[in-house]
């Protein structure tokens, strides 16, 4: 009986992240529009776009290979699996032991690997430029993330996300290292999701040069899958931050329906807060030059390293 219930919660989680991710994007766009005194499209607009894309015929470049056609499915699947293993409304999901925090980060790395390769398949200069920059950002952002993971899991004594969440819930203490890790994770999250100072998600022309440049040749269902994957990635990062630093309101493992519902409400609330903050941040800063981004990410890496050092040194001295 409990197994069935657990399975139900896991499936609910998978469905929830899938449904909520495009809505989150829509919400951020709406808030941004309001901040700029515009009306903005409705929140469900990203879903409408996705469904429209799915119905459309897919146009492939003449020399696109089998890899180009297969990659979107795997990019989507990898991101989705990573997102559904991150606790959102309930702690201790059924499959959460399948991948700990390091593995979730690495799964995102797999998705990035595939996406960067897919950008190079047609052999256009835009695809190449996007992939090349994505590779550079990734090679700085990933070590920064690993350092953050080190800090948090050393504090919590585990790399399992559910264990970290319950530890943080039980010990509400302020630590310098955890604070630094939080700032570093915010930096990484902004860079990894291609949000404003690093990349601009609102323009769909070659001007942005990173994420949109990589997927320039994609259309139809492939494009829909990649867009869905990037929405999932944003949601995943917000849930990671929630789960590691603000796990309040999350239902414990094996909780009843009421607690789960509370957890769900808390999760939606946290998403909304994060969305508003993101929108405010994005409207108040300008995009950086590409070669300033390594400095930005480097700051994240340094913070992560500093936090890890702090944890290492203060342990058992």
């Amino acid at each position: 009986m409990t197994i069935i219930f657990d399975l139900f919660a896991q499936i609910l989680q998978m469905a929830l992240v899938l449904l909520a991710a495009p809505l989150l994007i829509g919400f951020v766009r709406k808030v941004k529009a309001h901040l700029l005194r515009r009306q903005g499209p409705p929140i469900v607009q990203p879903w409408r776009d996705l469904l429209r894309l799915l119905r459309k015929e897919t146009v492939l470049a003449e020399n696109a290979s089998w890899f180009y056609r297969a990659a979107p499915y795997f990019i989507f699947a990898t991101t989705w699996v990573a997102a559904s293993l991150t606790p959102t409304f309930e702690n201790g999901l059924m499959f959460s032991w399948a991948a700990d925090l390091i593995a979730i980060i690495a799964l995102l790395g797999s998705a990035r690997f595939l996406l960067a390769l897919a950008g190079m398949d047609v052999g256009t200069s835009f695809g190449g430029i996007g992939s090349s920059r994505e590779a550079m950002f990734g090679s700085l952002a990933e070590p920064a993330t690993i350092m953050i993971v080190f800090t948090v899991s050393l504090v919590a004594g585990s790399t399992q996300l559910s264990e970290i969440a319950s530890y943080m819930l039980a010990h509400s203490e302020l630590r310098v290292s955890v604070g630094m890790a939080l700032i570093a994770l915010l930096i990484v999250a902004i860079a990894e999701n291609g949000r404003v100072p690093v990349d601009n998600p609102a323009t769909h022309l070659e001007l942005t040069m990173v994420h949109e440049a990589m997927i320039l040749e994609y259309s139809g269902r492939h494009l829909a899958l990649i867009e869905l994957a990037s929405a999932l990635k944003l949601l995943l990062y917000i849930s990671l931050i929630d789960c590691m630093f603000f796990p309040w309101g999350m239902a414990p493992h094996g909780a009843g329906v009421v607690e789960m519902a509370t957890g769900g409400v808390a999760f939606v609330f946290k998403l909304a807060v994060a969305g508003v903050l993101l929108a405010v941040f994005e409207t108040s800063t300008a995009k950086m030059r590409v070669f300033r981004v390594p400095d930005f990410l480097g700051a994240g890496l340094m913070l992560g390293l500093l936090a890890t050092l702090l944890v290492f040194v203060t342990r058992s001295l």
Partner: protein
């Protein structure tokens, strides 16, 4: 019994290598040798995995030094490395059956190839210093001969010269290490070395010498300079063996001496392997990211992986010195598992590079491109190799890297402050090298296999033969298995950890659902199988749903590229333009990368030029002073060549008197 079998097999390999003496140059001989090597390697692999019981097997032959004989042994560590060596040997032989015909002078290559295999096996089996060193040199010389295969090329001759120099240097360091270990009594068999008491300065000296000897063979920075020259110069199946297997034999030497012969470790032993491992990992992967020669790129990436392995070994030493046996076993198992994994995917990638070389005659990725259309099977297998080596789940490279991270996470309780500073730094180096590794292989694969062909050779490439594809598929299958069922492999390794560390990781077959949990499940766990199944299932489900409920319609059209695609393939992103952001951000510090733009003034008719200069700082600061010093000293000593007969006699006489004085004291 397994030891006798192994011995007979090594003898067989030596016999096979002398086959060309009886059969003169005919095309069939090379293939025959490779087939025989395949059979013998397979037998040796069997000898390694036959259950032996807990005790080591020993054997003494009346050869070698008269007072100790030639000692051989087969314990858990030897068995593990025997398995790695012969798995690599067997697959390389399969590959060579197809590939070997394409190299120049196939029979000579085949003969030395068999001798090389024999040498590596003998190093692993040796149980006394004399046999060990003789086998080590045998291995070095055989591989040197293989590097010289394409000796018409001046660059290859230089590579093999540097290789010979470094190999002799390494062997010399090992010789002195064994000299210190054996002491004046001359007890050079491993059993008595293990027993002998030793001062701390002696252990320090041995440690430094072993790091020089084994490290130079394995390619640890700053002794790596020969590796990216020598490995690519050999034919591809030999490159695979050298990179995938021979470097592991060097690591075997390190483990055997440091973990076994030198006695219980002190914490400072770990500092050198970790520091140099971390430096190697980061520097080498940066170099790899900037290489445009596919085989050189792979060779640099080998150095990176060797660095990762040394980090694991160093961590394990630190844990063991602090009496933390389970974490020590985690780090040690991570290192051994990475050794196994790297031997799989590095061989696979070198085979792939060889296949590309056969099909196009090109090693330079800037002249390749679009191979995924003309060689789809090789492209698929190479992609798998890239995925594995870039440490991405669900393949095997990730698992060993993950274990390494878990070991680092166990380390803050160690009391030494230097370790508290060093271990996080090593951790960031490890993470950085993993991430850069992913970029490096995106670049390698993207430029060589994807995009549009950059030359006619790449356009007209043909898929390679069945043997090569078979060898690569086998390796990819094994990589996938090791990634999905890591628990099984970790359990296989754990007797080695038990014997050399004293502790072991919890048995992984008791963890449910085929996941792995290095310490406890509440601390960390990973399940490659489930992740793989979930990914494949959701990808398939997405495809099925889209085709059923929405649209599966597809149309081919010219690429969009924001309106217009330039037909010239030169407008694609090249390897060096791909590496530009990384070169600018990290390369300036690491190897003082300079870009020079020569822009003609208006009205001038010459073409604009852009050039990039990269310097190996290690080479400049470490090797050039040494070589110039050697040159100066030898210039100075050159005078000794032109003395009169009396002066020579005088020198001899003076030496004799000095020796007598020394004896008299």
């Amino acid at each position: 019994m397994p030891l006798y079998l192994a011995l007979v097999c090594v003898g067989g390999l030596i016999g096979v290598s002398s086959l060309p003496i009886y059969k003169r140059e005919t095309a069939g001989v090379a293939e025959l040798i490779y087939r025989l090597c395949l059979g013998i390697s397979a037998l040796l692999f069997v000898a390694a995995i036959i259950p032996r019981g807990a005790n080591a097997l020993d054997l003494t032959l009346p050869l070698g030094l008269p007072w100790i004989g030639m000692r051989l042994h087969l314990d858990a560590l030897t068995a593990f490395f025997l398995a790695v060596v012969n798995l690599g040997g067997a697959t390389a032989s399969v590959y060579a059956i197809g590939y070997g015909a394409h190299v120049s002078n196939p029979v000579r290559v085949a003969a030395f190839y068999a001798a090389f295999l024999a040498g590596m096996n003998l190093v692993v089996l040796a149980a006394d210093a004399y046999t060990f060193l003789v086998a080590w040199e045998f291995m070095s010389l055989a591989s040197w001969a293989l590097v010289l295969t394409h000796h018409h090329d001046a660059e290859n001759r230089r590579a093999s010269y540097i290789y010979l120099l470094m190999a002799s240097f390494g062997a010399l360091a090992l010789l002195m290490a064994f000299g210190v270990l054996g002491g004046v009594s001359g007890a050079y068999d491993f059993a008595s070395i293990r027993e002998a008491p030793r001062d701390s300065w002696q252990t320090g000296l041995v440690l430094a010498l072993v790091l020089l000897g084994a490290g130079s063979k394995a390619g640890l920075a700053p002794l790596h300079v020969w590796l990216p020259l020598a490995h690519p110069a050999a034919p591809s199946h030999v490159s695979a063996l050298m990179s995938g297997v021979m470097t592991k034999v060097a690591i075997y030497g390190f483990i055997r001496i440091v973990f076994d012969l030198l006695g219980p470790p002190a914490f400072w032993w770990s500092i050198e392997p970790m520091t140099f491992g971390a430096i190697s990992a980061v520097i080498a992967i940066l170099f790899a990211t900037l290489q445009s020669d596919l085989k050189k790129l792979l060779a640099y990436s080998t150095i990176e992986n060797i660095g990762v392995i040394f980090i694991g070994l160093g961590l394990s030493l630190a844990f063991k010195a602090n009496g933390m046996l389970v974490p020590a076993a985690v780090a040690f198992s991570a290192a051994l598992f990475h050794i196994f994994n790297h031997s799989l995917f590095k061989s696979l990638l070198f085979f792939g590079a060889g296949a590309v070389l056969t099909a196009t005659g090109e090693r330079n990725i800037e002249r390749l491109g679009g191979l995924i259309h003309s060689m789809p099977k090789t492209a698929f297998l190479f992609l798998g190799g890239c995925f594995a080596i870039a440490a991405l789940p669900p393949l095997n490279g990730f698992v060993s890297e993950w274990l390494m991270f878990q070991a680092i996470l166990l380390s803050p309780t160690m009391p030494q402050w230097i370790l508290k500073l060093l271990v996080p730094a090593v951790g960031v180096a490890l993470a950085l090298s993993a991430a850069l590794g992913a970029s490096c292989y995106v670049r390698a694969y993207g430029v060589a296999f994807l995009g549009r062909p950059r030359s006619d050779e790449a356009r007209e490439a043909k898929e390679v033969d069945q043997w090569s594809l078979g060898a690569m598929s086998f390796l990819l299958g094994l990589s996938l298995t090791a990634g999905l069922l890591p628990g099984f492999f970790i359990d296989t390794i754990s007797p080695v950890a038990k014997a050399f560390i004293g502790g072991r990781m919890p048995a992984q077959n008791e963890v449910g659902w085929l996941s792995i949990a290095p310490v406890a499940e509440s601390r960390s766990s990973y399940n490659g199988m489930l992740v793989f199944v979930l990914i494949v299932a959701s990808a398939w489900a997405a495809r099925w749903l889209i085709y059923k409920y929405w649209s599966g319609a597809t149309r081919r059209a010219p690429a969009w590229d924001c309106g217009y695609i330039e037909p010239s393939t030169a407008t694609q992103y090249t390897g060096s333009s791909f590496a530009q952001p990384i070169r600018r951000t990290l390369g300036v510090i690491a190897f003082s990368a300079r870009e020079r733009l020569d822009m003609p003034l208006p009205g001038e008719t010459r073409a604009a030029r852009f050039s990039v200069q990269i310097q190996d700082r290690i080479f400049n600061f470490l090797y050039l002073p040494i070589t110039s010093a050697v040159a100066r000293i030898s210039n100075w000593l050159n005078a000794l060549n032109f003395l009169s007969i009396q002066e020579y006699l005088g020198l001899v006489f003076a030496a004799l008197v000095l020796l007598l004085v020394g004896v008299a004291r």
